[in-house]
């Protein structure tokens, strides 16, 4: 962003941007080649074979030989070039879809027409996102009303932000600077005002910024107080309460596979926790009764994210799948520290 002058190409400020630009270059080359080829042939034929004024044309001869060969050639070549586009695009997409296990988590709630950002450490901001450079950042996003889309063109990434669900986006900023944040899914009157800025800072600046933040405690801590405030702990065994057997145990739950009453299985991820708070009877854990009341209308989306973070902090497993690749430093045995590389201690990036 920065300079407001005329540009023809966006800044590339994330680890994925270079790959996307490479694919773009390939696509532009292929497209330019075929567009120019067709344009040239069409114009060339139109001139070369134009009907002269006094000419009485003879019926053109049949295309006897070569027709079939040509048809096959001009089917196969585009197919081949297309499959490269598919494979290349899919590999980038796969990378974009799977956040690295060591990513630091940030939570985003979209609403008409603003972005609310909560950092794991407790800092909150609106229409701004501060992130450290060269760190993997994982966003968990949801919306309070309509569908939005969290897009940072300089990072070449975006994802829709849906109400009633969580979506995930990750990136690794590579250049310190300020970049546009756009809502890119039409969301109503002030859609074009639902913009913001992503500030990529170096480590020290980021820590300083984070330190100046609110003193409300980390997401998980806030989640814990909400958990107690709502009375969840009176039934669910958790960090403090280990005895009650009427409700499923939340310790070590996150990331595991839960067997339900009807025999089906579900992974205890962010969406499952969220649904269990709002629609507790939708998926009843095997061996338990449907006694939990709904908390729909009692908890905001922000609050839900905090509860999810709290449950997450009780579990040994990380939010991302592929626990095999998770760095061993992540499993913290310290009871008060959430099991993730949050917190101010930064060992750079592995």
């Amino acid at each position: 962003m920065g300079e407001k002058s005329f540009q023809l190409f966006p800044e590339a400020a994330s680890s994925i941007a270079g790959q996307v630009d490479g694919l773009y270059a390939y696509l532009v080359l292929v497209s330019a080649f075929f567009s120019l080829l067709i344009a040239f042939l069409v114009v060339f034929f139109a001139i070369k074979y134009r009907r002269k004024n006094d000419e009485i044309p003879k019926p053109a001869d049949e295309h006897s030989i070569g027709g079939m060969v040509l048809e096959i050639v001009w089917s196969i070549i585009p197919l081949g070039l297309s499959l490269i586009m598919f494979a290349w695009g899919a590999s980038i997409f796969f990378t974009e879809s799977r956040p690295p296990a060591d990513a630091m988590e940030i939570f985003v709630v979209g609403k008409q027409w603003m972005w609310k950002v909560q950092h794991n450490e407790g800092a909150r901001e609106i229409n701004e996102l501060h992130v450290p450079v060269n760190r993997n950042i994982r966003l968990t996003l949801t919306s309070e009303d309509v569908i939005h889309d969290f897009a940072v063109p300089a990072f070449r990434t975006k994802t829709d932000v849906l109400p009633g669900r969580y979506t995930t986006e990750w990136f690794r900023p590579t250049k310190v600077g300020a970049y546009h944040l756009f809502c890119m899914e039409y969301c109503g009157t002030k859609h074009s005002g639902m913009i913001g800025t992503v500030y990529v800072m170096n480590e020290a600046d980021y820590n300083a910024w984070l330190g100046a933040g609110s003193g409300e405690g980390s997401m998980a801590e806030q989640g814990e107080s909400l958990f107690n405030q709502l009375g969840c702990g009176t039934c669910h065994p958790s960090a403090m309460n280990k005895q009650n057997g009427r409700c499923p145990n939340l310790n070590g739950l996150f990331g595991t596979t839960v067997v339900l009453k009807d025999g089906s299985k579900v992974r205890a991820d962010e969406s499952y926790i969220r649904e269990s708070v709002l629609y507790p009877q939708a998926r009843i854990v095997a061996g338990y009764d449907d006694i939990m009341p709904t908390f729909k209308g009692l908890v905001t989306e922000d609050g839900l994210l905090k509860l999810v973070e709290y449950v997450k902090s009780l579990g040994p497993k990380n939010g991302t799948e592929s626990s095999a690749t998770a760095a061993p430093t992540q499993t913290s045995s310290s009871p008060q520290a959430p099991a993730r590389p949050a917190g101010p201690a930064r060992a750079g990036n592995q």
Partner: protein, 106 residues
């Protein structure tokens, strides 16, 4: 009876066939009702749908005369089924695989 030479002519099916189909449909209705009260786990819906598909096939083939119809009619019927399956299965393919990646929203 002038049995029309053209493909458009009505096909007169013996009454017995209609009654047989009718009988099968009624029996299957009560069979599917009864089976639904048995606990077959996740297979209940498959059994119910299989019976429904069989019943529908009987109606299409005999009551609607597709068995005796032109190839075009058969193709039209197949096309409608094919496109219905595209709609159902390609959408359900999304729903079914939403949790595979283990990353919400992916």
């Amino acid at each position: 009876m002038a049995n029309h030479a053209g493909h458009a002519g009505p096909h007169v099916v013996p009454k017995r066939l209609y009654f047989a189909v009718f009988f099968a449909l009624v029996v299957l209705t009560w069979v599917t009702t009864f089976v639904s009260t048995l606990d077959l786990g996740r297979w209940n819906i498959f059994v119910a749908l299989a019976i429904a598909i069989f019943k529908a096939s009987l109606v299409v083939l005999f009551f609607m005369h597709v068995w005796y119809s032109t190839r075009l009619t058969k193709m039209i019927v197949m096309a409608s089924l094919f496109w219905l399956m595209l709609l159902l299965f390609l959408t359900m393919a999304d729903i079914w695989t939403r949790t595979w990646m283990g990353v919400p929203g992916r």
